[in-house]
Amino acid sequence: MASGDIDVAYVAKLARLALTPAEVEKFGAQLGALLEHVDALSALPVADVAATAQVIAASNVVRADVPVPSLDRETVLNGAPEREGVYFRVPRIIGADA
C-alpha cells in the first residue's frame, strides 16, 4: 500500500464534493496521516483469508410479493427542496448540447 499520495481533488470529484484549495491541502495532510496509520494492515497475513462483508450469516431475504402501504406521497414531496405537482423538481440533467 502506498501512503500519503492521495489525490484529494480527484477523490473529491468522485465523491461529488466541492472543496476549496485550502480544504484540499488540509484534508490531504489529514488523510495522509490516516493512510499511514492504516498501512499497518500490510503486516497482516491475509492472502488466504476470506473477506467479511458483514458478520451475521444471512443470505437473500425475501418477502411475499404483495403490495403494502407506502409512505404518503404528499408528506414525502413536502420534504424535498423543490417540487412541482407530484414530482421532485430537479435541475436540468440533459445538457442543451447533448
Binding site: V38, L44, V46
Partner: protein
Amino acid sequence: MLNSTAIGIALAVNSGELSATDLANEALARIAERDGEIGAFLAVTRDLARRHAERVDDAVRRGKSLPLAGVPLAIKDNMCVTGTPTTCASKILDGWIAPYTSTAVQRLLDAGAIPLGKTNLDEFAMGSSCENSALGKTVNPWDRARVPGGSSGGSVAAVAAGEATIALGSDTGGSIREPAAFCNVVGFKPTYGRVSRYGLIAFASSLDQIGPIAKTVADAALVYDLMAGRDPMDATTVDLLPEPTLTGLREDLRGVRIGIVKEFGLEKLEPSVRAVYERAYEDLQKLGAELVEVALPTADYGVATYYLIAPAECSSNLARFDGMRYGLRVEGADVGSTYEQTRAAGFGDEVKRRILIGTYALSSGYYDAYYVRAQKARTLIAADFKKAFAACDAIACPAAASPAFEFNAKADPVSMYLMDYYTIPMSLAGLPSLSVPCGYVTPEGGTLPMPLGLELSGPLFAERSLLGIAHAYERATLHAQARTIPEIVATAGAK
C-alpha cells in the same frame, strides 16, 4: 419520581400511583431548567410527549399495564419519528421532518415510553466527542468543560443530567459505549442484527446497531427486550428469537469465566485509571468469577480496519444526500455543481473526511489494497474473538483509555479515532458489548472526579448472559450511585 429507574416509574404509573401526564410535564420542566447548561437536546417534542402521556394514562385507566408506562425517553437525532425534525446534527438535514417512525422507537412508544425529544450527536454519528455536531454543543454533566463523548453524546448527557430516564443511541464503532463511560451511565450495543435499524439514518450498514442508554443494567435489559427481534422492514435483523434478558439478571458470578485481554494490558494506562480497572477486575473475581487471560492478537489492527470499512460504507450511504429529494439544496450552474455545492455546504469537516477516505478506499486501483484488505482483517479479528470465547463467557476491558477529555483536546483526527481502540474490535466482530460505571478518577489538571466505564463483551447473541454478568457487577459495586453530578444552575435557556 423523575430520579427513579424506568422499572420503578412504570410500576408507579401502572399502579395508578403516578400519572404519566404529570411525569411528562415534570420532565419537560426539568429540561427547560437544565438543558440550557447541558445542551443534550436538539429538539424538545413537548406536544408529542403530552399526547403520548395522555394515551398511557388512558390505557392505565382502562386497566392495561405497559412495560414502559410513562418512562421519559430521549431519542438520538439520527432516528426518525413521524412529524418531528430529524437532522443527524447536520446542516444538510436541518429542517427536514421525518415522514415515518423507526421501528426501535415505535416499539418503545407502544410500550408506553414518553418521547421527550431528539438528542445531539456527532454529525451523522461520526465522532467520539459530540464536537462534530453542526447544530449544538453538548457538555459532560460531570464537568462542563469536558466532552460528553460521542457520537451518542446528547443521549448519554440527557440521562446523566436527569433530563431523561432512558435514551436510545446508535453504535457503529463505540458510539454508545464510550459516551456512556464518559457520563457514568449504562450503554449497551446489542449483537449486530438484533435490533431493527429501520428509520435509523445509515452511517456504516455492516456495523450500525441501535441500543439502550440507561441508569441501570436492569433498565437497559428491559428496553433491549422490548426492541429486539426480527422486523420485516429491516432485512438485516436476524430471524432468531431473542432470549429475554431481564429475567436473566444475576447477583453473583460463580461459575463465570471472564476473559482479560493480553493485548489490552493495563500498563498502557495512566496509573490512576489503571488502578480503577485493576479494582474492577478484582471485584469481578470477588463475585466468584474466574479471570482467564485471553489473546486477541489482531485487536491492535481494529482501528485501522474500521477506518477503512466504516468510511467506505459511509461514502456509499451518504451519496443519497445530493439536494434532490430531501434536505438542503445549493443551486449550482448545472446538476453536477448543484450536487457538489450542496454537499460542500451541507456536510461538516469530519463527514467530508470520511467520505473522501471511503471514496478513495473504494476507488479503482485501491479497492483491493485498502477495502478488501480491511475486510480480510475483519475476518481475522472476528476469528480471534471466537477463539477467545472458547475459554471465557465474557471479556472485560476499559471502555476507553481515559475519562472524558476537554473540548478541542483532540484536534488531530487520528488521535480522536484512537479513542475507540477498546470498542471498535467488538463492533467489527458484531458482538454484544456494553459499558457499566466502574469508578472515578480526577484527571491531571482537573478538579472534578470523572467517571470511567468497564466494557463487558460477549459472544454473538449472548445478550442474556452478558447483561446478567453486568448486573451482578453493578449491584455489587454501585459506582454510579456513589456520586452525583455538580449542581446545574437553572437557566432561562428554555427550549
